[in-house]
């Protein structure tokens, strides 16, 4: 597929918009359909498309293996640490009202942090799974 001009130009044109759409889906998740899970899989699908057309080496320059594999646990940690400030304020785990004076605003911040953890773990896991299958020697 590396030789196909239409695919190469098409994917080059579409690729940034896929990532931008993923970010839109993520940050607009409070007001429209979307959120961390959807945005994570869209980012992963974009990177996989790039890898299929330009080859795995080019994709690893965009999303290096070491970075991706460290992001997999990092997302879970972001999620868990997003819940801990509530404990220090004498409230329950994952209580978001501590993030701002106004409870509503606190909820917005809490959801933002937690969804950030979700998008990181989901995107990184899907890309890491793809790399793991792609790098396996045939036999």
């Amino acid at each position: 597929m590396k030789q196909d001009v239409i695919l190469r130009v098409g994917v080059k044109t579409v690729f940034p918009f896929i990532l931008m759409f993923a970010l839109y889906v993520h940050f607009h998740g409070d007001y429209g359909p979307g959120g961390g899970f959807q945005a994570g899989v869209i980012i992963a699908a974009g990177i996989i498309l790039y890898a299929l057309v330009f080859g795995s080496a080019a994709a690893k320059r965009v999303a290096p293996v070491a970075v991706v594999e460290r992001l997999v646990p990092a997302g879970v940690l972001i999620y868990v640490f997003g819940g801990i400030p509530g404990l220090f304020a004498g409230k329950r785990f994952l209580d978001y009202t501590v993030y701002a004076q106004d409870p509503l605003h606190g909820h917005e911040w809490g959801v933002f942090i937690v969804e950030g953890g979700v998008i990181v773990t989901v995107a990184a896991t899907m890309i890491a799974i793809f790399y793991a299958f792609g790098d396996r020697a045939r036999g």
């Binding site: 998740g29 409070d30 959801v111 773990t121």
Partner: protein, 189 residues
């Protein structure tokens, strides 16, 4: 109208699932599974589950198809030509299916607003959302706010599965997949 579109899409789904059962070439099975996922995504839109439809379109037709194709590349793409005797499995499926369909007679009809599922908890979510106390997209609000523990568990499951895949497939790599960790000579028995 909603009912008609729903019925047509569901019938197509049944047809594709029969195709998946009958198809012997695994490559064909994977492509049919991709079409199946897109169809499920359309049905989910008809059923008003837009968030779920978006996820299913990206996951089912994109990522799982690619992963299945990668597996076919690593193993082989034809099913064993000799079919196994299928009388007993067919019997088990038929009996279970009839029992389950018998059970559906007591369920409320499709799309009825007075069904029990709409009576508890959810009116409260919608009331709070209409009072602008949580995000307007109730799905996101419930996912990250009301059911935060649940979502934390789900994230951990995704993480665990990812780590599992990496552990299982890390050992023997393609030549040139990574500098330093070259392919070991084949351990195939």
């Amino acid at each position: 109208m909603e009912l008609a579109i729903n019925a047509v899409l569901l019938t197509l789904l049944v047809a594709i699932s029969l195709g998946i059962i009958r198809q012997r070439s695994l490559f064909g099975v994977v492509l049919l599974a991709g079409a199946y996922s897109f169809l499920i995504a359309s049905i989910l839109i008809v059923l008003d589950a837009v968030d779920v439809a978006m996820t299913e379109a990206a996951v089912g037709a994109g990522i799982s198809t690619v992963v299945l194709l990668a597996t076919l590349h690593l193993t082989g793409s034809m099913e064993y030509p000799k079919p196994r005797p299928a009388v007993l499995p067919l019997f088990v499926c038929a009996v279970t299916g009839v029992a389950l369909i018998w059970g559906t007679w007591d369920l409320p009809g499709f799309g009825v607003a007075v069904a029990p599922i709409h009576q508890a908890t959810v009116p409260e979510y919608l009331r709070v959302a209409e009072a602008h106390l949580i995000a307007p997209n109730v799905v996101t609000a419930v996912l990250a706010d009301y059911r935060g523990y649940d979502t934390m568990g789900e994230t951990t499951v995704v993480f665990t599965a990812g780590i599992g895949v990496m552990l299982l497939l890390r050992g023997r790599r393609k030549v040139g997949a990574d500098a330093g960790l070259d392919a070991k000579p084949g351990a195939k028995t």
